[in-house]
Subunit: 364 residues, 2 copies
């Protein structure tokens, strides 16, 4: 058997695929990889992680541990990740050691900085709300004055599920908000009166081929995704805009793998891009029971250099996240004939923690 | 968290399910268990096995290793298996140590002896070909004379995929055939002029609830399953007979889990039972892409004491086994939009070895 660095693409079955991150997305990626005959090698700081428990091998180290990354590169020719805050230095080290990291360093770097992200989107013909960057209190006031109050101030880096952001009602409050967010570089975004939130899950292969799933309509509560309904009922112009946005983002990033792009549908019929995540996405979980090939297998196919699979819907799905102790209702959920149960094997049900999801399926 | 022996049924997510056997069936069971939030603990003599590589823990020991079985019973409250030749002593030991083995000792004991199996079937109102047992050469001649030549002589125990059996054209050849099979106890079966081979995959829960999948039509080559087509086109009387057979076998065995029952459809419109396998079954692989809940999740649900899932078909599937180096065509197969690829991660493609399967899906 050739060593990983001698392997070419497409990656042959039996090879190992590295996954950085041991949460539920890593777990579902590992399960999809296994279905295609691959071994999953997970790098994750926590022992006994959801993904580690279904992987052929787990490397339990911090994400930037040089020795751990060396082990990963030695085992896996292709390395991917389940979350976007992978340290840039880790990707650089893996690449230097001959590992093929997909999606690559550039999509990660852009996605890690909300200002870079929106700047990239606009430069690639994808509309967003008005925005401005700030690194001081006075700059923050000026930024709010520029985009108009009320505005949403967010740290440029880190933050997820509604953390690291706050509303600014008047420009005069901007400096306080800036200080409250820690005095770190921020982005100020104009408020968006959207009709609804949609998302598009798309994929691009090593050969540049792309495929797009039907849109999902999403509902958040307290900054956390509550449910998705797909395929969303949308007009043809909306579907066309989403496809165009996906195509521009994928080619602009020279992307490989699955991407999740969050969209606002506004009253004038346009779509604005809220943000993208360079990975499989919670609003794509419906594809597991509603599409020909789901987003997890699709991502594995793309990073392994395999041909993309079909993305057509086979059913209508209402995806519901199970947060915290909602997962304790598994017995009732498992007894509903239309409900497919997916649980992540997390040991502790903290409030708001994503413990699993269900897909409620009905014919198209 | 309660220790395994303190856990009741239904088994809560996060618990461990023991699987004896590390082949592809164990692998697909482990993947299904993971989807429901369970840990899989695999006991298997070979290191680096297909199931071991997706399990939370692998115990690499012979199937009857007392210490290994003790570890398994300590980790897993519920233990199941992927093949029927689990030593009876191993099951007895597991049970004595408080593990709940499903399906239990009796279905295993009956399935391990072809004479016991057919005797059980007839006693429970399930028709088979005529058969007779023999333990000596003269008895073998008498048995062939009784059921009529040509007849099929099989060892009562072991043997699979067409091994351990031979045709006897005349009663005079019976003693030679008996000797050629090793002089071990045999069963002699009347030849069966069947129209086609069908199978029914059925399941019974801890509470006695049962469910039956649509029938599959199967084609063997050289004693090895080549392909299955499902749902098979059958008349209502045929479907009714299959359901009745499944119900009788499941209740007669006081069974828990998925069972595969192989059937001959004969010219007069009757179904004869060829044999059953007390486990998930190769002719049920089509359910992975053609049914609401597949046979692997169904088996996990049953042994864990969960409610059974629905078994209706959502698509028509042609399942094709990938034998030996046929799996080398994975790239072509992955590029067919109607084809779902399942590869088992086996390291070596020996001739006739089941390396994977594909499900070719089309709308019902």
């Amino acid at each position: 058997m050739p060593s990983p660095s001698e392997r070419g693409l497409p990656l042959e079955p039996g090879a190992a695929i590295g996954i950085i991150g041991g949460g539920q997305l890593g777990r579902m990626l590992a399960l999809a990889a296994a279905r295609l005959g691959f071994d999953a090698v997970v790098l994750e700081p926590e022992p006994d992680s959801p993904a580690g428990r279904v992987a052929a091998q787990t490397i339990v180290v911090p994400y930037d541990d040089a020795e751990g990354l060396r082990t990963l590169a030695a085992r896996a020719h292709v390395v991917t990740f389940e979350f976007e805050n992978v340290p840039a230095a880790a990707v650089a080290q893996l690449t230097a050691m001959g590992a093929d990291v997909a999606p690559g360093a550039r999509p990660l770097a852009i996605a890690q900085d909300r200002f870079e992200e929106k700047t990239f989107l606009n430069a690639n013909g994808c509309p967003t709300v008005a925005f401005a960057a700030a690194t001081t209190g006075p700059e923050a006031s000026e930024a709010v004055a520029r985009v108009g109050a009320p505005a949403l101030m967010k740290t440029r880096r880190d933050g997820y599920d509604g953390k690291g952001q706050r509303w600014v009602e008047h420009a005069a409050d901007a400096a306080d908000a800036f200080a409250a967010l820690g005095g770190v570089p921020v982005i100020v975004e104009a408020a968006c009166e959207f009709v609804r939130e949609l998302s598009v899950i798309a994929v691009r292969g090593r050969d540049g081929a792309t495929a797009v799933y039907p849109l999902a309509e999403n509902h958040h509560e307290g900054g956390i995704l509550r449910r998705s309904s797909a395929p969303a009922h949308v007009t043809i112009p909306i579907a066309d805009q989403a496809e165009r946005i996906a195509a521009r983002v994928l080619s602009g990033l020279d992307y490989v793998g699955v991407i999740g792009i969050e969209l606002f549908e506004i009253a004038d019929g346009r779509l604005l891009v809220n943000e993208f995540a360079p990975r499989v996405h919670n609003t794509g979980h419906w594809t597991m029971d509603g599409c020909e090939v789901d987003q997890f297998e699709q991502h594995i196919r793309a990073v392994a250099g395999w041909p993309l699979g079909p993305t057509a819907a086979t059913a209508h799905v209402e995806m519901l996240n199970l947060l915290g102790d909602e997962a304790a209702t598994w017995l009732r959920l498992a007894s509903e004939p239309e409900t497919r149960v997916h649980l992540y094997g997390k040991r502790e049900a903290k409030p708001g923690r994503k413990m699993g999801h269900v897909n409620r399926v009905r014919p198209l």
